[in-house]
Every structure is written in structure tokens, then in C-alpha cells.
């Protein structure tokens, strides 16, 4: 266990023991330091979750944990690079022990490296997207699914993207990673629903985060990540299966998915 990152600094405090009159749900957010992950952490802690927050950037995580712990809720930071798959099993064990159980896993970690033009190719970037967005999700959600299936309880939330609904000219690597993630989450759902475990796939459109600046071209219907976090929490409560946020993307993507290939081939987005 010595090589697994330990929570540090102000975030050492373990969550208060759960009692019948002070029940705690316990969640892990993979990719929590900024953007949607950070907003989800704020939202879920307000809703009474004790959280383990994971990200590569220790400083940001530390600040977020301090903010959450300052409100009387409980969050602990764990520095982790999703692409270091070998470290997942031991770290997961530590986190579940620190939290005192596990009821929720949220996978938000994702990178997006647009190639910078519809005729540009960059294998290294595409590979990194697959390694984080897809294989990273599998590295975490495999053991968690196995645990939830065994416990016959739990909820998994995977943040995919509208980008996974269709392969487009702009960013083939990203489309592929998100399409893979969407299919993976659906497969988990089909495996786990019969064991009482809910799997929610989230497909955000544009969010007003760092990723927005990375996008080429216009970014219609962009929403604040806090709005997306509220949508996700409501969907979790209703145990829904797939949501778009903002919800208008359901209809936009319906149109895009049904656009015939002979037209789609000629488009430049």
C-alpha cells in the first residue's frame, strides 16, 4: 500500500461515522479537480455524500477539499493519474476503507486534444484520449462493477459526451473514445441492472469550462457546469439511464444521428 497516494494536508479527517440517525452515502469521483467533476463534488457533498476526490492535480484537489470540508461536509483528496491502471486496485481498496464503504462511483475524467484541423492527424493525442477517457474508465469501473454486483447495490455515473454519438471530421480520436465509453457504460448497465445497480450515462453538450476554449468553431447551448451537475444529480435520484445536458442536445443529436451519410460526409463539423 505504501506506493498508493495518501490523502494529504487539510483533507486527512476521515468522514464522521455513519449512524442510523446520521446516515452517510459514500461516493468516489474520478476526475474531480475542475469543471464538471468539481461541481459534482460540490453538489454531492451538499446532498450528504462523503466523497473521495481523484485527479492528477493535487493543488486544485486540495483547495476543493478544503472548501467542501469548510462547509461541514467530508471530502478527501487522492492524487492519481487515470492512465496508471496498475495502481487502481490498491488505491480503490484504500479509498473504500477510508470512506467506510462505497455507494456511488462517478467517472468524469477526460481529456480532449483536437488535432487542429480536419486534415490533421496526431496519433499520440488520440492514444492519450483513448487511454484516459476509455481505458481509464474501464480500469476503475471494472472492479467497482464487480463489487456493486456482489453487494447488489450501488450506482455508477459515467460522463461520456455528445461527441460519442457520431464520428465527425473534427476530432476522430475524441469521438472514438466517447463512443467507446458510451457503449461500455451501456454494456455495464445491461449487466448490472439485474443486480440492482443503476448505471447512468451522461452526455453533456458544451460546458463553460476549459474544454470550451479548446473547441473549434461555435459552441451553441453552452451551460454552466453547476447546471449540468444539478441535472446529473436529479437523474441519479430518478435512477435514469441516459441523459443529455443541456436536455436540448437529445433532439439535436437525434437529428445528427439520423443525418444520412451522403450529407454527413460533406459537412465540416
Amino acid at each position: 500500500m505504501s506506493d498508493s497516494p495518501k490523502p494529504f494536508g487539510q483533507t486527512q479527517a476521515k468522514p464522521a461515522p455513519a449512524t442510523p440517525l446520521n446516515p452517510r452515502r459514500r461516493g468516489i469521483i474520478i476526475g474531480a479537480s475542475k469543471g464538471l467533476g468539481a461541481e459534482l463534488a460540490r453538489k454531492l457533498s451538499r446532498e450528504g455524500y462523503s466523497l473521495a476526490l481523484l485527479a492528477r492535480s493535487g493543488d486544485k484537489l486540495e483547495a476543493l477539499c478544503r472548501e467542501i470540508n469548510g462547509t461541514g461536509q467530508s471530502a478527501r483528496a487522492y492524487v492519481h493519474n487515470v492512465a496508471e491502471y496498475d495502481k487502481v486496485p490498491a488505491l480503490l481498496r484504500t479509498i473504500v476503507a477510508d470512506l467506510g464503504g462505497l455507494d456511488l462511483a462517478v467517472f468524469v475524467a477526460g481529456v480532449n486534444y483536437p488535432p487542429g484541423g480536419i486534415d490533421k492527424y496526431n496519433f499520440e493525442n488520440d492514444r492519450a484520449m483513448i487511454e484516459v477517457n476509455l481505458i481509464g474508465a474501464m480500469a476503475w469501473l471494472h472492479p467497482i462493477s464487480e463489487m456493486f454486483q456482489s453487494a447488489k447495490a450501488g450506482q455508477i455515473v459515467g460522463v461520456s459526451s455528445v461527441a460519442g454519438d457520431r464520428g465527425r471530421v473534427g476530432n476522430p480520436g475524441n469521438n472514438t473514445s466517447k463512443a467507446g465509453l458510451t457503449a461500455y457504460l451501456e454494456a455495464l448497465r445491461n449487466r448490472l441492472t439485474r443486480h440492482g445497480v443503476n448505471v447512468l450515462t451522461v452526455k453533456p453538450g458544451f460546458l463553460k469550462t476549459e474544454m470550451l476554449t479548446a473547441a473549434l468553431g461555435p459552441t451553441p447551448f453552452a451551460i454552466e457546469p453547476s447546471k449540468a451537475a444539478d441535472d446529473i444529480f436529479n437523474a441519479m435520484k430518478k435512477r435514469r439511464q441516459v441523459i443529455y445536458t443541456a436536455s436540448i442536445w437529445r433532439w439535436i443529436m437525434l437529428a445528427i444521428q439520423h443525418t444520412p451519410s451522403f450529407i454527413f460526409r460533406k459537412l465540416t463539423f
Partner: protein, 468 residues
Amino acid sequence: MQLNLNTCFTTLENFGHSLKSSSYRIPIKKKEDIYEAFQLAKKLGLKVTARGTGISYNDASLNGGGIVLDMRGMNQIVEWDSTTGVVRCESGVTLEQMWQRVEPDGWWSPVVPGTMKTTLGGCLAANIHGKNNFQAGPIGEHVVEFTAMLPTGALVTCSPKKNADLFYAMISGLGMLGVFTSITLKMKRIHSGLITVDAWHVLNLHKHLSDLRDHAADHDYIVGWLDAMARGKSLGRGQIHGARQLKEGEDSNPQKTLQLSYQHLPDRFFGILPKSILHYFMHPVINNLGMRFVNMGRYVSALRAHTFRQSHAEFHFLLDYAPNWERSFGRGGLIQYQSFVPKETAEDAWREMLELSHRNGLPSFLGVTKRHRPDKFLLTHGVDGFSLAMDFKVTDKNRASLSAMLQEFDQIVLNAGGRFYFAKNSETTAESARKFLGDDAISKFKKLKRRCDPNGLLESDLYRRVFG
């Protein structure tokens, strides 16, 4: 041990279904399995708790995110000597298994709680008591010897003479010093499968407690039912059951009454309604209004004092009467708050608590009283006085106010010189525990823990809550 821990992950609950916690559950069949689990826990940096049938009201056998040893597989009655009444069992043996083995030979367990579903290991870890606590003490006083495995892998055998410090600490020690593997108990002679019960009503709290005190001497067992919803002059009213074992010759046909078939709890009500579905019918009544009528009806029917005979199982195991009755408390489940208060201060303390519960609109649906005496186990809950156990329904709406009220209860009990019981109360804080146990007892316990468990492998949710 070839184990995929992920597929051991299990949601475990307390008896009242008011607390859930997920852990890696490892089935234990023999004592070597315990050692392997300790090794595994040490390697992975996980904590370990032993669990029997999981029917304590709180977090005593929960260990969220850690390893839970499922002791139910270690359930052999190793040796039974019907001439001396000494029985040696593995720790996963339940009281049900044990009494069914010894009763036909004319013996009965010297101490039993309100349910027969507990394992002996759990009974010793909590040092359970029965309705005869005022004279027989807790179950620990009837243990001839036990063997336990320490987290180091060492097996220790303890008796009141041998390793006495560990004997008096591991019994009552909540499973935090070691895991019981073998337990030897001395049974008590009985001359009939029946027991004589006197039942009479008491008008108020003062009469309730004075009757418990004054009538304990002429009974082997005494227990009171307290209508916790009655107010004003009737506060503390209820019914007392005092019971005596039959003497030799009192039962004209002990051969017949000692048969197991004579002891079985009926599985149907009124001969038709299966008890297994009873909790569905109870559910609509388990609320403030419904329980007021139930308690009132119960009191009215108690007005007639009478004496009757009933089987041992019927008298002792009230909690097993309606299977899954705890389910009738609904989704939020139930908790029990039990306080042990010296006889001099009990009346005032409980009057204050009962009135507080009425003012808050959070009455207990069921109150049970008993007479107690002190004992010399390290984490004892015994007092020269009485105990009052109160059941509360937990709902999403009442959690915060119930929690605040129980913290007030704790202060009242502590000010009255009272104690708490670690198999029951789920909300006792570390501070309250320190106040009633005293710094000496706690430092002695922690010192023994460092000696038995140098790596701190044994931890339960309860341990983290009150000693963490």
C-alpha cells in the same frame, strides 16, 4: 487464501434495518481461516470485524469498507456433558442450537437475551444479559473458559483464573481484542420445560420501579413492559412479569414438557395466520396514533393480575415470536435506546426522558424495563439499578430531532450516574462513552488492545465511533 475480495463485497445491516454498511465478507469455517483473513487484512491495510448473525441494534458487527468475518460457519457443538452441564461450542453456534441440545437433558442456558438467534461469540463480545441479570449477572459469569485468536495469530485460553485480565476484558470487549473460537459454558439445571409466570399491572413509574425492586427477590426472572406513551399520572405505567423455574416435583410430567416439541414457538397466530407475514399487518399500526391504541389495549388487558405456566422458549424469546417484526417499522427501520440507571436516580431520570419524548412528539413505541446488578467485566453496562429499553421508529423526517433528543437523553443518563450497552445504542458518542466507562477502564482496554492487536487490525464501526 484464493479470494477475489471484489466478489466478497456485501451490504450488511444492523438488526433494525436502520443502518447499512458494505464490507468484504469472508466466510469462516475453521480457525485457520481467521488467521488467513488477518494476514490478508494486514497485507491490504484493511480492518477486521467478526460478525455472527448480525442482530445487534447498532454498528457492533459492521465494518464499512473493511473485512467482516462471517462466523456462522463455525457452528459445531463440540462437547456436551449432560451430567455436569458443561457445554463446549465453537463461537458461531447460536443460542438456539445450544438450548435445543441441552434442554431435553434437563438443562437451560443460565443467561439468555430476548432472542435465540445470537451467536455465542456475539453474546460474549457484548456480554449480554437476560431477565435474571439482578441475580445471575451477565453471560460472562457463566463462562468456564474460552479460546480466542489474537490478530497476531496466537491462540489464548482464558478463564477467571487463567489470563484473568484478558478474560474480563475480552468478554464485553466487543470483539476488539481477538476473535472467539471456542466457548465453554456451564448450564443451569431445570426440572421442567415450563416456567411459572406472575403477571400484574403497575399504575405509574414509581410503582413500576418499586415493584421491579421488591419482587425481584421472589422470582428468578423479572421484566416490565412500560407504556412509554402514557402521560401525566399514568407516566411509566405498565405490566410486570415475574417468573420462577419449577422446583423438582412441581411438574408432574417433566419428561413431556422437556421435549423439544413442547418448546417450539407456534408458527401461526390464532391457528391460521402464518407469523411470517405478520409484519405486513403490523406495519400500518407502527406510528404515533396506532401505537397509542396498541399500548392502551395492552395496558387494559394487563389489568387482570394472573399466574400461568409457559415454556422456556415462549417466556424468553419474545423477539422471535413474530419473525421479521422489525421490518414492520418501515424503510427507515428502528433503533433502540437503552439506559442503565442506578436505583436511586432512575425514577427522576426516566420521568425526565419520557416527558421530553412526549414534548418532542417522539414517543417510544415500546418500553422494556429490567432489574440489574453490577459485574466486574471491563466494559460493563451493569449497575445496581434498572434498565429501560425504548424502541424508536426512524424516518427521513425525524432523524435530526430524534438525534438531538437522544443526545439530551445521554446527558440525563450520565448525570444520573447511568451507563449504556454497546449492543444497543447506536448514537453514543466517544465523549459519552468516556464519561460512563471512565478514563481508567478505557486506558486499560486500550493497553490490552495494543498488547493483543499491535497492528490495530480489529476495528468495527462501533469501535471507531466510541473509541476512535
